[in-house]
């Protein structure tokens, strides 16, 4: 079987000198038309939940409120991902253009970039870009002001409602949903919150129209996406790839020839074992099995030298520590999982205890308050079910 080179895209980082013109043209179009384009492009959020971006904008536009806000989520907390950082470094104007168009559609006057604390070094650069952006806005007659808000480190603050809590000066704990941010977001006002990459993609749609975007990818997963490739690979880095590829294609391209499993989507994603490489597509609703593509597009490649027990332990430690701690299934559930797999490994608990833990992760999935607790089951179940013997011996 010959190795197939995956199609590498260069849309996001391509430098578009015509940014002002595109912005001007887009701002001149009727709102309904832009929304229509956004929806038909098939663009879905690149920050985690994969919510259709056009619909999100539409819902917020339909809300009647005095104040509305646009937030760019640049908290990028997923370990091993730094694609949002690259976007903000290289092509932040695309992100800002997306925010501006969204502001026009929704009627928002204020926007924020919620910047991960560790990215403080980007502030001078971003401020320069913001100056240019604000002058472009006033030239184009758009009243819209964007400020930078510095995050303070917790992973959970990347979750949209926790992010808003922290912006309002409270502890970063996820809120109950509903109401969703489109109805009651920042300061209780309708808010669009989008990931950095999502916003950058909107520029592509403004520039080339929805067709070009839609032609990439498959069924429910349209367009391209940035992937942060790491682990046992000769070629780690950030790649823009078309959605819909199989894990096999991905491994053929990026693996080291001895790939045992790939964790798709970081800690909150799934582990795909070798026997499932062919049948698993990477996208929002993998055509073949049903893999989602959460968070930063992290692709962690493991070769056969890796202990899956250690891999799982790392993820669980991460969740145990990064859970905000407010809800029972996540806070206590994570501790039980960490202690439980250890007890099984040491022989303090029978191997059947793993089944109890699997059921526990189901409960976490069904009952946790936010995406963090709900997604612990993904890695736990996919690792324990596929590598049970490694958990025991």
């Amino acid at each position: 079987m010959g190795k197939k080179q995956l199609r590498r895209m260069d849309l996001i980082f391509a430098n578009d000198e015509d940014f002002r013109d595109i912005l001007k043209q887009t701002l001149a179009r009727p709102n309904e038309e832009i929304i229509e384009d956004m929806i038909s492009s098939g663009l879905k959020g690149r920050g985690g939940a994969g919510f259709p971006t056009g619909l999100k904008w539409k819902l917020t536009a339909e809300e009647k409120a005095k104040n509305k806000y646009i937030i760019c989520n640049a908290d990028e907390g997923e370990p091993g991902t730094f694609k949002d950082r690259e976007i903000l470094t290289q092509v932040s104007y695309k992100v800002l253009a997306g925010m501006a168009v969204c502001a026009k559609i929704t009627g928002a006057k204020e926007g924020f970039i919620y910047l991960r604390g560790e990215y403080k070094f980007l502030v001078p650069l971003l401020n320069q870009e913001l100056d240019k952006f604000h002058s472009a806005c006033s030239e184009l007659g758009l009243k819209f002001n964007v400020k930078i808000f510095m995050g303070s480190g917790a992973y959970i603050c990347g979750e949209e409602s926790a992010l808003m809590e922290s912006m309002e000066g409270r502890r970063g704990e996820p809120r109950n949903k509903p109401p969703f941010p489109t109805v009651k977001g920042y300061r209780g006002c309708p808010t669009v919150i989008n990931n950095v990459e999502t916003l950058a993609h909107t520029f592509t749609i403004f520039k080339y129209g929805p067709r070009k975007f839609r032609d990439l990818g498959v069924q429910d997963s349209r367009g391209s996406k940035l992937f942060s490739v790491s682990g046992d690979t000769p070629t780690p880095g950030i790649y823009e790839l078309e959605l819909g590829m199989t894990v096999q294609d991905f491994v053929d391209d990026f693996g080291d020839g001895d790939t045992k499993a790939v964790q798709v989507g970081g800690a909150s994603g799934f582990l795909v074992p070798r026997k499932r490489f062919k049948e698993t597509a990477i996208g929002y609703q993998g055509k073949l099995t049903g893999i989602s593509l959460p968070t930063g597009g992290s692709m962690m490649i493991y070769n056969s030298s890796r202990s899956m027990y250690n891999v799982l332990n790392n993820y669980l430690d991460f969740f145990q520590e990064e859970s905000c701690g407010q809800c029972t299934p996540c806070r206590v559930g994570c501790q039980q999982l960490v202690k439980g797999v250890d007890a099984v490994k040491r022989g303090d608990k029978p191997t059947a205890y793993l089944d109890k833990l699997l059921k526990l992760t189901d409960t976490m999935k069904f009952t946790a308050k936010c995406g963090l607790g709900q997604s612990v089951a993904n890695s736990f179940q996919s690792i324990v079910e596929n590598f049970r013997e490694e958990m025991i011996y």
Binding site: N176, Q320, C324, Y353, F366, T367, K369
Partner: protein
């Protein structure tokens, strides 16, 4: 009118307004969905997840307390997946919880214990996480004990302290497995902005926050034949104590007196007596301040004058608004007036040496424990009040003594500091001190009764957070001519959040008053942190009704008509604000840090 939503719960149809939650809809159908972090007094947190229910067609379960109803929703509250999940969640909570129930102060009155029993969690094999935790017990506060090993992190206390009390002495610290409820920099509760009000205690579902109890100390004193143990009972206790014996909204004054006698107290007296005394002292103080400000045009006379009966409020103002300390009435609280008199006037009249007197008070309040410990409260030459017990602690003693409370005959308070007016009883409710003061002050100034039917000053009553009232003074008697035509403006706040709001308005000069009553707890003392658990708006409303009924039935309704108080002035004090009063019944407070 709100839109009506139709849904089914367990197959039963129900219609309800659109802004209601699944929990409220279920309540309407008499379907109980278990809850832990939910409390009617507080905003919805949705963090314990015990109330999850199934929405047919959706994989995720919904927190019933936090999810609004939708048209056509089909909810299952007892399906297999719901039961299994709920059981898991209870098991998880127990695994993090020091479940030594039989040795727990809250044994028998713990919501977690109740759930665990309901769901028969008998064979949970989750790993006990308690040994891996470095749980602390904070016993340094004279009012409350905080035991982190009993905490289920529902944040009811945190919400109480911030939403009801505007203090945030308790807040959430750390995250993940280290997440805990903490004070400022994890300092002990006696070193932070805690008002000692105990609202956190009555909102805590478990034994993580309980009163510091002095039951054994009081038993010891009662058992000592050399000691003369006197007890005073606060007005709100008599409308709460019955709840400990399953009777809500009842007035149990007579049974309470009878029980206290059976417990062996040498003299069973009434804080209501010193409530009447407070009115005479405080009323006179108010009129003096008004005179100085209106006639003397003196600067530096602080108006509005604030009431000073609520020790939680005192601690709050010391921390948060120290610039208003001079506005506080210099009157001690009725409890402390009583204490100071017990070891002087009472001792002398009864011919008992002061150091043989142990003075105990039964209070709806935990801040009273702190107040009794204050250095300012030793003007008798001794600790004026030795032990403060809450309504709950009294109930425990009654049960320990094997007294069948509900079958007791009514008895009367002992003489000398046992008599009181209806005006004193209503001290137990928000607005009560104001009403009592107006009944007396108005009459003093005009020679006529307050112009309200049956002396019921309706505008100062009720549960509204901040109440305002004004009384026009017309045709005063000669001594008070200067008040002719003055409109006496009053305000009342209960709950420190409302107090904060009111003071902020006063500070911003958005509102001007002559006299302001503040009680630290919602509803006033009847909703105090020492009252029976649970509490809710409905329960407090019942207690309030009982208080005003008690007032109505009293032969004397006005403080200045209390004959025992007159006797006290005649035999001992001289006159209101006299020299002896100043020494024993008045005090000053000092500013504290904001953290």
């Amino acid at each position: 009118m709100a839109k009506i939503i139709n849904l089914t719960i367990n197959g039963i149809a129900v219609s309800i307004e659109e802004d209601k939650t699944i929990l409220e809809a279920a309540e309407k159908l008499n379907i109980k969905i278990p809850t832990l972090c939910y409390h009617k007094d507080l905003c919805v947190a949705g963090n314990c997840r015990v109330c999850v229910v199934e929405q047919v067609g959706s994989k995720k379960l919904l927190a019933a307390c936090a999810n609004p109803v939708h048209e056509g929703m089909e909810i299952e509250t007892n399906s297999l997946i719901v039961r299994n999940s709920r059981k898991h969640i209870i098991e998880l909570l127990l695994s993090e919880h020091n479940a030594d129930c039989t040795k727990c102060y809250k044994n028998g009155n713990c919501e977690l214990q109740e759930l665990s029993s309901e769901y028969k969690i008998t064979n949970s094999d989750f790993i006990d996480l308690v040994p891996s935790k470095n749980y602390q017990i904070d016993t340094l506060s004279p009012s409350l004990v905080k035991d982190d090993s009993k905490c289920i992190r529902c944040q009811r206390c945190v919400r109480t302290c911030s939403e009801i009390q505007h203090l945030s002495a308790l807040s959430v610290a750390h995250k993940g497995d280290h997440m805990k409820i903490s004070s400022f920099f994890d300092k002990p509760m006696n070193e932070v902005v805690c008002s000692n009000c105990g609202q956190c205690i009555i909102h805590c579902p478990t034994g993580a926050l309980v009163e510091r109890n002095y039951i054994e100390e009081v038993w010891d004193a009662l058992a000592d034949p050399d000691l003369h143990v006197v007890v005073q009972t606060a007005p709100a206790v008599r409308v709460g104590l019955g709840e400990e014996f399953d009777s809500y909204g009842s007035r149990v004054t007579g049974k309470m007196v009878s029980a206290l006698k059976r417990l062996g107290f040498n003299s069973v007296l009434d804080t209501d007596f010193t409530a009447d005394l407070t009115i005479l002292e405080e009323g006179t103080e108010l009129l003096t301040r008004l005179k100085k400000s209106i006639v003397g045009k003196e600067n530096g006379v602080q108006l509005p004058m604030f009431t000073s009966c609520s020790p939680g409020w005192i601690k709050f103002i010391e921390h948060s608004f120290p610039e208003y300390l001079d506005n506080l009435s210099t009157c001690k609280s009725p409890q402390q007036m009583f204490g100071a008199l017990a070891k002087t006037y009472y001792a002398q009249s009864r011919g008992i040496e002061s150091d043989k007197i142990v003075s105990v008070s039964i209070m709806p309040c935990t801040a009273k424990k702190y107040e009794a410990d204050r250095p300012e409260m030793r003007d008798s030459g001794y600790k004026d009040v030795d032990y403060v017990l809450t309504t709950r602690e009294l109930a425990i003693m009654i049960k320990q003594a094997g007294i069948e409370f509900n079958n007791l005959d009514d008895e009367k308070f002992d003489k000398l500091m046992g008599n009181s007016s209806g005006a004193a009883v209503i001290f137990g409710s928000t607005g009560g001190v104001m009403e009592a003061a107006l009944r007396t002050a108005y009459e003093l100034v005009t020679g006529r009764e307050v112009p309200f039917k049956n002396l019921e000053i309706i505008p100062v009553r009720g549960m509204k957070g901040i109440k305002e009232a004004s009384v026009l003074i017309e045709n005063p008697v000669d001594d008070w001519k200067f008040l002719d035509g003055v409109e006496l403006k009053c305000a009342i706040a209960h709950g420190l959040e409302n107090a904060h709001q009111l003071l902020t308005d006063i500070k911003a000069k958005k509102a001007e008053y002559h006299f302001v009553e503040v009680m630290a707890c919602p509803g006033g003392c009847l909703g105090g942190g020492g009252q029976p658990i649970p509490t809710s708006p409905e329960i407090r409303a019942k207690r309030m009704k009982a208080i005003y009924d008690e007032d109505k039935d009293k032969p004397i309704r006005k403080s200045h008509e209390n004959p025992e108080v007159a006797q006290l002035y005649e035999e001992f004090l001289g006159k209101p604000l006299g020299e002896k009063s100043h020494k024993l019944l008045h005090t000053h407070y000092t500013p504290r840090d904001r953290y």
